[in-house]
Symmetry: C2
Subunit: 142 residues, 2 copies
DNA sequence: ACTTATTCAGACAATTTTGTCTTAAATTTA
DNA sequence: TAAATTTAAGACAAAATTGTCTGAATAAGT
């Protein structure tokens, strides 16, 4: 769920990027209905990877460390789910590659390349704009 | 790993479809280096869903229950991983849909539809033919 | 009938993922 | 400096996934 929770939080944070100051993790966890401590841990990794900046103490919290236009979906997923996110192959045979491919190699490589392409051209800004315009939602329907 | 092991076994079995009789699960597990009991359980579900036919006793084993040309990758994945394989949405918010989509809905739906399309047009026959021609391999490189 | 080979079924165990809790460190305000 | 607020870090727990084992059922050969 790292990706799900992390992305939702990032979109939530990015959606309020015109507001000054930090957004507290407690507030995010309540609004998005995610366990506070678990979310904290996830956001920590985003902080460590310089997607977010954090500030302790009263009025502290987290804020975007870079412009959301420069944060791609691919980048976020790599951080949240590991670098192997798209390189994982379908059959997962060790030590394989172009030389001696498995039956689904070509098929699968085509799909992953397409996806990777799409994911690297979608930015946090685009996603959060939809939230701001009220076009979409981040929380569960009641 | 159900999908990985199941597909590998199916391709292995389909690759020898001109040979008479059953292929024993023991043999498959040894050749593909998969735990015998675990593989047995996976192949059982394929048998229950009439992809395979099984035969107990000496010279028993499993065999394809239908022509591999009529078994699609999509069908195999549905059985091995559950019907929700492609319907699972990216953010997994409960009770969502077209009316109130999340930020990645359109993006994600496009990807899953494309994949589903591709997966439903690839058959076991095509995949196993590559194995037979020696073009690809099913086991790990040494 | 007996033995052997095989799948079937389900209990059990190990591992990974997911989530919770406690304590520490930092920062602000008074 | 003291108190309040908030993230950081990591131990711990629960749940899901992955894998193992044992015994039963079935079929074939002798
Ligand atoms: S051959 Fe390609 S798809 Fe197949 S296991 Fe290797 S990397 Fe993955
Ligand atoms: S809106 Fe679409 S992509 Fe988003 S959670 Fe719902 S079904 Fe999934």
């Amino acid at each position: 769920m790292n990706a799900v929770y992390g992305l939702r939080a990032l979109m939530y944070i990015a959606a309020q990027r015109d507001q000054e100051g930090y957004v507290s993790i407690r507030k995010i966890s309540e609004d998005l209905d995610i366990s506070f401590h678990f979310l904290t841990k996830i956001l920590q990794t985003l902080t460590q990877h310089h997607i977010l900046h954090s500030q302790r103490g009263p009025a502290g919290g987290v804020a975007l460390a870079k412009a959301p236009e420069q944060v791609t979906l691919l980048e976020m997923l790599y951080i949240l789910e590991g670098e192997g996110y798209f390189s994982e192959c379908f059959l997962g045979l060790p030590g394989c590659g172009e030389q001696q491919p498995c039956p689904v190699h070509d098929f699968w490589r085509h799909i992953t390349l397409t996806m990777k392409e799409k994911f690297s051209h979608t930015t946090l800004a685009e996603l959060s704009d939809k939230v701001r315009s009220g076009e979409v939602r981040l929380v569960s329907c009641t």
